[in-house]
Symmetry: C2
Subunit: 144 residues, 2 copies
DNA sequence: TAAAAATGGTGGCAACTGCCACCATTTCAA
DNA sequence: TTGAAATGGTGGCAGTTGCCACCATTTTTA
Protein backbone atom coordinates (compact mmCIF):
# COMPACT_ATOMS: atom_id res chain seq x y z
CA UNK A 1 0.00 0.00 0.00
CA UNK A 2 1.37 3.38 -0.92
CA UNK A 3 0.75 6.31 1.40
CA UNK A 4 -0.01 8.94 -1.17
CA UNK A 5 0.14 12.53 -0.07
CA UNK A 6 -3.25 14.13 0.22
CA UNK A 7 -2.68 17.57 1.71
CA UNK A 8 -0.48 20.41 0.48
CA UNK A 9 0.68 21.02 4.03
CA UNK A 10 2.04 17.49 4.24
CA UNK A 11 3.54 17.70 0.74
CA UNK A 12 5.49 20.81 1.66
CA UNK A 13 6.75 19.23 4.87
CA UNK A 14 7.93 16.18 3.01
CA UNK A 15 9.62 18.19 0.26
CA UNK A 16 11.39 20.37 2.80
CA UNK A 17 12.64 17.53 4.93
CA UNK A 18 13.72 15.35 2.03
CA UNK A 19 15.57 18.11 0.25
CA UNK A 20 17.43 18.97 3.43
CA UNK A 21 18.42 15.33 3.90
CA UNK A 22 19.69 15.24 0.31
CA UNK A 23 21.63 18.46 0.72
CA UNK A 24 23.11 17.30 4.03
CA UNK A 25 24.32 14.07 2.47
CA UNK A 26 25.62 15.87 -0.60
CA UNK A 27 27.62 18.38 1.44
CA UNK A 28 28.81 16.15 4.28
CA UNK A 29 31.96 15.30 2.36
CA UNK A 30 32.83 19.00 2.17
CA UNK A 31 32.44 19.33 5.95
CA UNK A 32 29.24 21.37 5.65
CA UNK A 33 25.74 20.95 7.03
CA UNK A 34 22.75 21.87 4.88
CA UNK A 35 22.12 25.17 6.66
CA UNK A 36 25.77 26.14 6.33
CA UNK A 37 25.78 25.25 2.64
CA UNK A 38 22.87 27.57 1.97
CA UNK A 39 24.68 30.47 3.62
CA UNK A 40 27.83 29.84 1.56
CA UNK A 41 25.65 29.73 -1.54
CA UNK A 42 24.02 33.10 -0.95
CA UNK A 43 27.34 34.61 0.08
CA UNK A 44 29.12 33.51 -3.09
CA UNK A 45 26.17 34.67 -5.16
CA UNK A 46 26.51 38.19 -3.76
CA UNK A 47 30.27 38.23 -2.97
CA UNK A 48 29.81 40.17 0.30
CA UNK A 49 26.86 40.68 2.62
CA UNK A 50 26.10 41.73 6.19
CA UNK A 51 24.39 39.23 8.46
CA UNK A 52 21.24 41.23 8.20
CA UNK A 53 21.27 41.01 4.42
CA UNK A 54 21.70 37.22 4.63
CA UNK A 55 18.80 37.11 7.07
CA UNK A 56 16.55 38.98 4.67
CA UNK A 57 17.58 37.00 1.61
CA UNK A 58 16.91 33.67 3.29
CA UNK A 59 14.09 34.99 5.51
CA UNK A 60 15.44 33.23 8.54
CA UNK A 61 15.64 34.61 12.03
CA UNK A 62 18.72 36.76 12.56
CA UNK A 63 19.93 34.64 15.47
CA UNK A 64 19.96 31.59 13.22
CA UNK A 65 22.23 33.35 10.76
CA UNK A 66 24.48 34.57 13.58
CA UNK A 67 25.03 31.01 14.73
CA UNK A 68 25.61 29.63 11.25
CA UNK A 69 28.04 32.42 10.35
CA UNK A 70 30.00 31.77 13.54
CA UNK A 71 30.32 28.08 12.67
CA UNK A 72 31.37 28.87 9.11
CA UNK A 73 33.99 31.32 10.30
CA UNK A 74 35.38 28.68 12.64
CA UNK A 75 35.44 26.27 9.71
CA UNK A 76 37.38 28.78 7.61
CA UNK A 77 34.68 29.16 4.94
CA UNK A 78 34.17 32.89 5.41
CA UNK A 79 35.62 36.04 6.93
CA UNK A 80 33.98 38.80 8.96
CA UNK A 81 35.43 42.23 8.28
CA UNK A 82 34.38 45.00 10.65
CA UNK A 83 32.59 47.75 8.79
CA UNK A 84 34.11 51.19 9.44
CA UNK A 85 30.93 52.94 8.22
CA UNK A 86 28.72 51.17 10.77
CA UNK A 87 30.36 49.58 13.77
CA UNK A 88 27.33 47.39 14.44
CA UNK A 89 27.85 45.35 11.27
CA UNK A 90 30.34 43.08 9.56
CA UNK A 91 31.06 42.61 5.90
CA UNK A 92 31.05 38.87 5.37
CA UNK A 93 32.92 37.32 2.46
CA UNK A 94 33.68 33.76 1.40
CA UNK A 95 37.29 32.65 1.74
CA UNK A 96 39.11 30.63 -0.92
CA UNK A 97 37.85 27.53 0.88
CA UNK A 98 34.33 28.91 0.61
CA UNK A 99 34.66 29.49 -3.12
CA UNK A 100 35.93 25.95 -3.58
CA UNK A 101 32.73 24.37 -2.30
CA UNK A 102 30.44 26.78 -4.16
CA UNK A 103 30.09 24.73 -7.37
CA UNK A 104 29.29 21.58 -5.41
CA UNK A 105 26.59 23.32 -3.40
CA UNK A 106 25.01 24.85 -6.49
CA UNK A 107 24.93 21.47 -8.14
CA UNK A 108 23.44 19.77 -5.08
CA UNK A 109 20.71 22.38 -4.67
CA UNK A 110 19.74 22.13 -8.33
CA UNK A 111 19.88 18.35 -8.07
CA UNK A 112 17.25 18.45 -5.30
CA UNK A 113 14.74 20.14 -7.57
CA UNK A 114 15.59 17.86 -10.48
CA UNK A 115 15.08 14.85 -8.25
CA UNK A 116 11.69 15.80 -6.88
CA UNK A 117 10.42 16.83 -10.34
CA UNK A 118 11.78 13.88 -12.28
CA UNK A 119 8.29 12.64 -13.08
CA UNK A 120 7.19 16.04 -14.39
CA UNK A 121 7.24 17.29 -17.95
CA UNK A 122 9.39 20.32 -18.76
CA UNK A 123 6.24 22.46 -18.80
CA UNK A 124 5.07 21.18 -15.43
CA UNK A 125 8.50 21.70 -13.94
CA UNK A 126 8.56 25.33 -15.07
CA UNK A 127 5.05 25.90 -13.76
CA UNK A 128 5.91 24.28 -10.43
CA UNK A 129 8.92 26.55 -10.10
CA UNK A 130 6.80 29.60 -10.87
CA UNK A 131 4.03 28.67 -8.42
CA UNK A 132 6.53 27.89 -5.65
CA UNK A 133 8.09 31.31 -6.09
CA UNK A 134 4.69 32.99 -6.15
CA UNK A 135 3.57 31.21 -2.98
CA UNK A 136 6.83 31.96 -1.17
CA UNK A 137 6.63 35.62 -2.13
CA UNK A 138 3.03 35.80 -0.97
CA UNK A 139 4.14 34.32 2.34
CA UNK A 140 6.70 37.08 2.78
CA UNK A 141 4.19 39.87 2.20
CA UNK A 142 3.79 42.17 5.17
CA UNK A 143 0.62 41.36 7.14
CA UNK A 144 -2.28 43.65 6.68
CA UNK B 1 13.81 46.52 -1.98
CA UNK B 2 12.01 43.20 -2.04
CA UNK B 3 14.00 39.99 -1.74
CA UNK B 4 12.15 37.91 -4.27
CA UNK B 5 12.64 34.18 -4.15
CA UNK B 6 14.72 32.87 -6.98
CA UNK B 7 15.30 29.19 -6.25
CA UNK B 8 12.77 26.42 -5.66
CA UNK B 9 14.89 25.11 -2.81
CA UNK B 10 14.56 28.43 -0.99
CA UNK B 11 10.86 28.69 -1.82
CA UNK B 12 10.17 25.31 -0.26
CA UNK B 13 12.16 26.21 2.86
CA UNK B 14 10.22 29.42 3.25
CA UNK B 15 6.84 27.77 2.71
CA UNK B 16 7.64 25.04 5.20
CA UNK B 17 8.87 27.36 7.90
CA UNK B 18 6.09 29.90 7.50
CA UNK B 19 3.33 27.32 7.48
CA UNK B 20 4.72 25.79 10.65
CA UNK B 21 4.84 29.17 12.34
CA UNK B 22 1.23 29.78 11.33
CA UNK B 23 0.13 26.39 12.57
CA UNK B 24 2.03 26.83 15.84
CA UNK B 25 0.35 30.14 16.46
CA UNK B 26 -3.03 28.80 15.46
CA UNK B 27 -2.79 25.83 17.82
CA UNK B 28 -1.00 27.43 20.76
CA UNK B 29 -4.35 28.32 22.34
CA UNK B 30 -5.31 24.64 22.32
CA UNK B 31 -2.07 23.72 24.08
CA UNK B 32 -0.62 22.06 21.00
CA UNK B 33 2.58 22.53 19.03
CA UNK B 34 2.53 22.23 15.25
CA UNK B 35 4.02 18.74 15.19
CA UNK B 36 1.54 17.54 17.78
CA UNK B 37 -1.36 19.04 15.84
CA UNK B 38 -0.40 17.13 12.71
CA UNK B 39 -0.40 13.84 14.63
CA UNK B 40 -3.84 14.54 16.09
CA UNK B 41 -5.05 15.36 12.61
CA UNK B 42 -3.92 12.09 11.06
CA UNK B 43 -5.17 10.16 14.06
CA UNK B 44 -8.66 11.62 13.89
CA UNK B 45 -8.70 11.08 10.13
CA UNK B 46 -8.09 7.35 10.61
CA UNK B 47 -9.65 6.87 14.09
CA UNK B 48 -6.92 4.44 15.25
CA UNK B 49 -3.35 3.81 14.11
CA UNK B 50 -0.14 2.23 15.34
CA UNK B 51 2.92 4.45 15.69
CA UNK B 52 4.37 2.79 12.67
CA UNK B 53 1.34 3.64 10.57
CA UNK B 54 1.57 7.28 11.67
CA UNK B 55 5.26 7.23 10.76
CA UNK B 56 4.48 6.00 7.26
CA UNK B 57 1.59 8.37 6.67
CA UNK B 58 3.63 11.42 7.67
CA UNK B 59 6.93 9.98 6.42
CA UNK B 60 8.74 11.10 9.53
CA UNK B 61 11.32 9.12 11.45
CA UNK B 62 9.75 6.66 13.87
CA UNK B 63 11.57 8.14 16.86
CA UNK B 64 10.01 11.52 16.12
CA UNK B 65 6.54 10.01 16.24
CA UNK B 66 7.38 8.14 19.45
CA UNK B 67 8.30 11.40 21.15
CA UNK B 68 5.29 13.29 19.86
CA UNK B 69 2.89 10.51 20.84
CA UNK B 70 4.36 10.44 24.34
CA UNK B 71 3.80 14.18 24.72
CA UNK B 72 0.26 13.92 23.40
CA UNK B 73 -0.55 11.09 25.78
CA UNK B 74 0.77 13.18 28.69
CA UNK B 75 -1.43 16.02 27.47
CA UNK B 76 -4.47 13.75 27.40
CA UNK B 77 -5.07 14.06 23.66
CA UNK B 78 -4.72 10.36 22.88
CA UNK B 79 -4.63 6.90 24.41
CA UNK B 80 -2.28 3.98 23.76
CA UNK B 81 -3.99 0.61 23.97
CA UNK B 82 -1.72 -2.40 24.01
CA UNK B 83 -2.43 -4.64 21.05
CA UNK B 84 -3.13 -8.27 22.03
CA UNK B 85 -2.38 -9.49 18.50
CA UNK B 86 1.14 -8.02 18.48
CA UNK B 87 2.70 -7.09 21.78
CA UNK B 88 5.23 -4.81 20.08
CA UNK B 89 2.59 -2.31 19.03
CA UNK B 90 -0.05 -0.01 20.45
CA UNK B 91 -3.37 1.00 19.03
CA UNK B 92 -3.45 4.76 19.35
CA UNK B 93 -6.76 6.62 19.46
CA UNK B 94 -7.74 10.23 20.07
CA UNK B 95 -9.47 10.96 23.36
CA UNK B 96 -12.50 13.22 23.65
CA UNK B 97 -10.05 16.07 24.19
CA UNK B 98 -8.32 15.06 20.96
CA UNK B 99 -11.58 15.10 19.01
CA UNK B 100 -12.36 18.56 20.38
CA UNK B 101 -9.31 20.16 18.77
CA UNK B 102 -9.70 18.29 15.48
CA UNK B 103 -11.90 20.88 13.72
CA UNK B 104 -9.58 23.71 14.73
CA UNK B 105 -6.54 21.89 13.40
CA UNK B 106 -8.23 21.05 10.12
CA UNK B 107 -9.20 24.66 9.69
CA UNK B 108 -5.71 25.93 10.51
CA UNK B 109 -4.02 23.53 8.10
CA UNK B 110 -6.36 24.48 5.28
CA UNK B 111 -5.90 28.13 6.19
CA UNK B 112 -2.15 27.80 5.62
CA UNK B 113 -2.64 26.72 2.04
CA UNK B 114 -5.26 29.39 1.43
CA UNK B 115 -2.91 32.00 2.81
CA UNK B 116 0.10 31.12 0.68
CA UNK B 117 -2.02 30.82 -2.46
CA UNK B 118 -4.13 33.91 -1.97
CA UNK B 119 -2.61 35.56 -5.02
CA UNK B 120 -3.31 32.55 -7.24
CA UNK B 121 -6.33 31.92 -9.43
CA UNK B 122 -8.49 28.90 -8.68
CA UNK B 123 -6.86 27.07 -11.59
CA UNK B 124 -3.35 27.87 -10.40
CA UNK B 125 -4.21 26.82 -6.88
CA UNK B 126 -5.46 23.43 -8.08
CA UNK B 127 -2.40 22.96 -10.27
CA UNK B 128 -0.10 23.91 -7.40
CA UNK B 129 -1.79 21.36 -5.17
CA UNK B 130 -1.42 18.67 -7.83
CA UNK B 131 2.25 19.43 -8.50
CA UNK B 132 3.07 19.51 -4.78
CA UNK B 133 1.50 16.08 -4.34
CA UNK B 134 3.31 14.74 -7.39
CA UNK B 135 6.67 16.04 -6.20
CA UNK B 136 6.15 14.73 -2.67
CA UNK B 137 5.18 11.30 -3.99
CA UNK B 138 8.21 11.24 -6.26
CA UNK B 139 10.34 12.04 -3.23
CA UNK B 140 8.94 9.04 -1.39
CA UNK B 141 9.68 6.60 -4.20
CA UNK B 142 12.11 3.88 -3.23
CA UNK B 143 15.60 4.61 -4.55
CA UNK B 144 16.72 2.67 -7.56
C1' DT C 1 21.76 68.29 21.13
C1' DA C 2 19.78 64.99 24.25
C1' DA C 3 16.40 61.42 24.69
C1' DA C 4 13.94 57.92 22.24
C1' DA C 5 13.52 54.68 18.69
C1' DA C 6 15.40 51.76 15.29
C1' DT C 7 19.00 48.66 13.68
C1' DG C 8 22.49 44.86 13.70
C1' DG C 9 24.12 41.34 16.30
C1' DT C 10 24.53 37.67 20.39
C1' DG C 11 23.13 34.06 23.58
C1' DG C 12 19.71 31.08 25.87
C1' DC C 13 15.89 28.18 25.55
C1' DA C 14 12.60 25.15 23.42
C1' DA C 15 10.50 22.67 19.50
C1' DC C 16 11.18 19.75 15.42
C1' DT C 17 13.68 16.40 13.01
C1' DG C 18 17.04 12.57 11.56
C1' DC C 19 20.17 9.11 12.72
C1' DC C 20 21.88 5.59 15.48
C1' DA C 21 22.13 1.98 18.93
C1' DC C 22 19.32 -0.72 21.32
C1' DC C 23 15.32 -3.79 23.14
C1' DA C 24 11.27 -6.87 22.72
C1' DT C 25 8.51 -9.35 19.80
C1' DT C 26 7.23 -11.55 15.60
C1' DT C 27 8.18 -13.78 11.24
C1' DC C 28 10.94 -16.45 8.20
C1' DA C 29 14.01 -20.19 6.83
C1' DA C 30 17.10 -23.92 7.24
C1' DT D 1 11.66 -26.07 15.71
C1' DT D 2 15.22 -23.20 16.45
C1' DG D 3 18.25 -19.53 14.95
C1' DA D 4 18.32 -15.43 11.98
C1' DA D 5 16.10 -11.59 10.17
C1' DA D 6 12.49 -8.27 10.22
C1' DT D 7 9.39 -5.23 12.73
C1' DG D 8 7.71 -1.82 16.19
C1' DG D 9 9.17 1.05 19.55
C1' DT D 10 12.56 3.93 22.85
C1' DG D 11 16.31 7.04 24.13
C1' DG D 12 20.39 9.88 23.17
C1' DC D 13 22.71 13.10 20.38
C1' DA D 14 23.16 16.68 16.97
C1' DG D 15 21.46 20.00 13.53
C1' DT D 16 17.87 23.54 12.25
C1' DT D 17 14.88 26.99 13.50
C1' DG D 18 12.08 30.67 16.11
C1' DC D 19 11.45 33.61 19.90
C1' DC D 20 12.99 36.43 23.44
C1' DA D 21 15.91 39.36 26.23
C1' DC D 22 19.76 41.86 25.80
C1' DC D 23 23.81 44.93 24.13
C1' DA D 24 26.10 48.40 21.16
C1' DT D 25 25.56 51.60 17.72
C1' DT D 26 23.09 54.56 14.65
C1' DT D 27 19.20 57.37 13.38
C1' DT D 28 15.23 60.08 14.47
C1' DT D 29 12.78 63.42 16.84
C1' DA D 30 11.37 66.64 20.15
Amino acid sequence: MSYTTDSPFKSISILYRKSHIWLSNGCAGAGLTAAQAVVILILCDFRALTQDEITKRLSLDKSVIAKTVTKLEEGGFLLREPNPRDKRTYQIRPTEKGWQVYPLIKQEVEGCFARMTQRMSETERAEFRRLLALAADTTLEPEE
